[in-house]
Amino acid sequence: MSPGGQKKLALAGALYVAGFLVSAAVGSLGYFHFGRPDRTCASCHEMTGAHAAWSGSVHSTLHCRECHGGSLTLDAHALRAHVNRVVRHFTRTPDEVIRLKEDDVLRLQASCQRCHPQSAADWKASGHASTYARFFLDETHNRKERMAADCLRCHGMFFDGDIEDLVSTVSTAGPWSLKNPAKAGEPAIPCLACHQVHAPASDGRSALLYVRREKASFPLAVLPAVPLMHGNSTVRLSPDPRQRLCVQCHAPEASRQVGTSDDRTPIGVHEGLSCLDCHRGHSNSARASCASCHPGSSHCGIDVEKMDTTFLSATSRHNVHRVSCEDCHGGVRPAKR
């Protein structure tokens, strides 16, 4: 054969081999991308826990790749994570419990929003969508009270690091800046703070609490119903288990006296109501809440929304969480009509 012919043959051979290899690779990755999880990634034991939880969850109709990216998803971050995990599996150094990094948690938000646009929009407009900059660069607050590790318990619970890694100076003197400026616009209380995509569908409640200290989500069923005190008497609490989640961050002082610190548990005429009786889940708005009970169960027969309470004006002396008959009747209860 002529040298040119040999060259041509070698080229063709190389082309075939390359074509074969590429196709094989695409085929293999495709298998992982589209295959059943228990036949692919979740066949490794470190994945089985997450997989089992997902199988029993309300999101079990979604394939892993929808949220975590698949082997053919063009996402460098996800691919790197997958490759790392495979390497660790075969080098026998798997994580005991697979956890999401904050990056992953924030990326997942986009997936949440695809299917739950209304909830996402409501959340976005709420205080719970506040950013790292809002929480950690508030000068008035920082000057008065020193930041601490405990801030991250409710604000930035997924942050990978200590408070010293987040803010330039942990002191009341300042100046304060975020060590990683990119965090400024990131939400500090993301969806996964109160939700877990793999949570069981059984009880119809999707809320859980992410506990930073444990790096795990606690279902409502195991969250403690902590008795609160009003003076010497025990406050009647709503049986709604979601209330237990709210009070974890909107918590009273160690004395467990109602209304101390950031506790908003209702007493007075609203005692026994759940936060969710008035506040909507994602927006936290209580704007339309009065009408669901009043005037039907009102004792006064007047328009409660026009009464002088914090519902009408945030500066009112009569906090709607604590308002009692005496607030309006000057210590004298009128006889029932």
């Binding site: 196709s23 094989a24 692919t40 607050h141 101390t260 610190s261």
Partner: protein, 203 residues
């Protein structure tokens, strides 16, 4: 990085139709091999999740029974449900690795003792018999020649201590599932922690 050659979309100039068909055939074959091989490998490697990382199944069975004797289930979970064995198994490959040999040897001695006294494996004994045997081990009352290092008392104390750790320690170490022991004792976890000063700081 070089762009991979896709023979379908981008036939090299001067490549004939026949070559393209050959290419397609090779590609399909490759894809099939890729999918097939992967499926096969995945099936081969389909490791049944090992329940334990340190213990063999033969060691785990009597240990599960022993821990459940130490902290039995009643209306609150016992050692098994709380994941105590999971805790011990994990820690023996971590901070408690110095006790590996004691577990191997002690569990074998326990099993020997059970077979000698009852002709039955410890985990297969009835609850009452297990309790009797554990009491003997605690008090050092089993035939001494069946126990080497650790001694029966030392082994009992070791397992008791680790069982308590697994039952009452934080779930992050593999035991105390959902803080079951805290709930049993009426302790809130996560606890409510307020911050005394928030509103004042706002003002």
């Amino acid at each position: 990085m070089n762009t991979p050659v896709d023979p379908l979309k981008d036939p090299a100039p001067g490549v004939s139709r026949r070559s393209a068909i050959k290419m397609l055939a090779v590609g399909s074959l490759g894809a099939a091999v890729g999918v097939g091989a992967t499926a096969l490998v995945a099936r081969l490697d389909r490791s049944q999740a090992p329940r334990y990382y340190f213990f063999t199944a033969d060691e785990a069975a009597p240990l599960v029974a022993l821990c459940e004797q130490l902290i039995p289930a009643d209306d609150a979970p016992g050692a098994t449900e709380a994941g105590v064995i999971n805790y011990i198994d994990r820690q023996l490959l971590g901070p408690l690795s110095r006790h590996q040999g004691r577990y191997r040897s002690g569990l074998a001695s326990l099993q020997r003792t059970s077979l000698r006294l009852y002709q039955t494996a410890f985990e297969k004994l009835g609850n009452a018999q297990q309790t009797v045997l554990v009491t003997l081990v605690e008090q050092g009352g089993c035939p001494g020649e069946l126990w080497g290092e650790p001694t029966q008392k030392a082994f009992f104390n070791l397992v008791l201590d680790h069982t308590r750790q697994g039952f009452y320690g934080s779930p992050r170490h593999g035991g105390n599932r959902d803080y079951a022991s805290y709930r049993m004792m009426g302790l809130a976890y996560p606890n409510l922690v307020g911050q005394n000063r928030y509103r004042e700081a706002q003002g």
